[in-house]
Amino acid sequence: MDTLIEGFQEAFRLLISLDREVLQIIAVSLRVSGTALVFSVLIGLPLGTFLGLASFPGKKIITAFLYTGMGFPPVVVGLFVFIIFSNAGPLGDLNWLFTTRAIVVAQTVIALPLVAGFIMTAVMGVDKNLLLQLRTLGVTRFQMIWTIIKEARLGALIAIIAGFGAVISEVGAVMLVGGNIRGKTRVLTTAIMLETRQGRFGLAIALGIILLTITFIINIFMLNLQEKERN
């Protein structure tokens, strides 16, 4: 119990005093996860929309892969990304291992199936009558797709929230490919891991509270956006 109270006090103190190292860890976390999210939306939005609309042979298999990806163990993603970017691996020449770039790649791979999957479901949920109506109105293909995306935007928002939640809270893959280098690739989750390992529970809890607060604020922001969109 004492440790918990201590943790809250420590979190408060760190936030008030704007501890430089903690601020940097927060910045790296947001930068990396934000970038990964942008990439996964850039790929996931068209992919999910396409899968939600088109029908073609083999779609079932691709959908099954996508659903599997939604529950893919991040640490396995980390393992593959590690091997690929390791000096002895196929993309070793890039020297991305143990940099934030490797983390962005891993997080993008983790978030992409979530984003694409949720968007696909949202697109599939768009009223079929609307499609028929649009067709009779003789709209262009592009206009139709745009209308559908707009109709599915609430679902798309959930897709983004889910993707962000998954990557900002990820620890296994980030630890493996980032190496938890102080001032470089240390993010909130790996910092929590390090502090816990060293028995500094107070600081670990403090960082945990900061992580929760960040995701909470971002979700509030997203909910506001959702509210506005609905009206």
Partner: protein, 284 residues
């Protein structure tokens, strides 16, 4: 709203790609793959800033188990290694991955456990005080059901030492017993687990002392046998094998570590906080 959404999307795109593509402008840096024990003790935090200030070379520390550190070296994913497994280090050099191993410092392994000490390690004196007797005492007390043993079980230098000690004592079936727990975790986590379970563990003195404040259920019960010495070596990667390796900067770090004033700092590190040094500089 549509316009706003579009503008926002384009903005996010530009920022995202920009951040991702921008090369971080930074000073020359080398990557040191090392064991969790050196990072967790805080020694590197004290020494490396001095090195950076003098040479302008930043040192990126990746702290993993000795096994993984050596593997990172074999794959060429670092410039220099600092580990504590002399036999494996020798093999690493013989295989051509590293240029030369330079001895830096040593500390020692100790056996920690609950103050009640059911294995009676603290009573071992005189002729009965060798490490074989101690390991046997733990084994017997374990089989009696009066203690648990927490092992790192993770391919670290400490784990390799522990296995060597069991083998030396002729107790090779220890991993099959019910009281032996191989965790597959770092030294810190293993000590925390031992503290919670009031169990025994082999640890390096430095990590234990640096965490002792939070480990009320553990104390040092056995120490001192020569077999428990724990020498740390530093090995630059071989630039002939790994083109990427920054040998010159790595060698500068080696020279720095063995310099008299830095060796003195190593020998004094921890005295202020723990009343005794965590590492010793002297002979191997």
């Amino acid at each position: 709203m549509k316009k706003l959404l579009k503008a926002g999307l384009i903005f996010a795109l530009v920022v995202g790609v920009g951040i991702f593509m921008s090369h971080e402008i930074q000073a020359e840096s080398i990557r040191l793959a090392t064991t969790t024990s050196t990072e967790d003790s805080g020694l590197l935090d004290e020494l490396l800033p001095i090195f950076t200030e003098e040479t302008g070379i930043e040192v990126e520390v990746v702290a993993v188990g000795t096994g993984q550190a050596l593997e990172i070296g074999r794959r060429g994913d670092a410039d220099i290694l600092m580990v504590h497994a002399p036999d494996l280090e020798k093999e690493f050099i013989e295989d051509g991955y590293g240029t030369e191993r330079t001895y830096i410092m040593y500390n020692d392994f100790v056996i920690v456990g609950p103050p009640e000490d059911p294995a009676g390690l603290s009573d071992l004196v005189g002729e009965r005080a060798d490490i074989e007797t101690a390991m046997t005492a733990i084994y017997e007390a374990g089989n009696d059901g009066s203690l648990r043993f927490l092992s790192r079980g993770d391919d670290s230098g400490t784990y390799l030492k522990e296995i060597a000690l069991w083998e030396m004592t002729g107790l090779e079936d220890v991993e099959d017993t019910g009281w032996y727990n191989a965790l597959g975790q770092g030294m810190g986590s293993t000590l925390i687990t031992a503290n919670e379970m009031a169990g025994y563990a082999l640890t390096d003195r430095g990590t234990f002392l640096s965490m002792a404040e939070g480990l009320a259920n553990l104390k040092i019960l056995y120490k001192g046998d020569e077999a428990l010495n724990n020498p740390y070596g530093i090995i630059p990667l071989n630039p002939e094998v790994f083109e990427n390796a920054n040998y010159e900067a790595a060698q500068q770090l080696v020279d720095f570590m063995v310099r008299d004033d830095i060796q003195k700092k190593i020998g004094e590190f921890g005295i202020d906080t723990f009343g005794q040094p965590l590492f010793f500089s002297g002979e191997e």
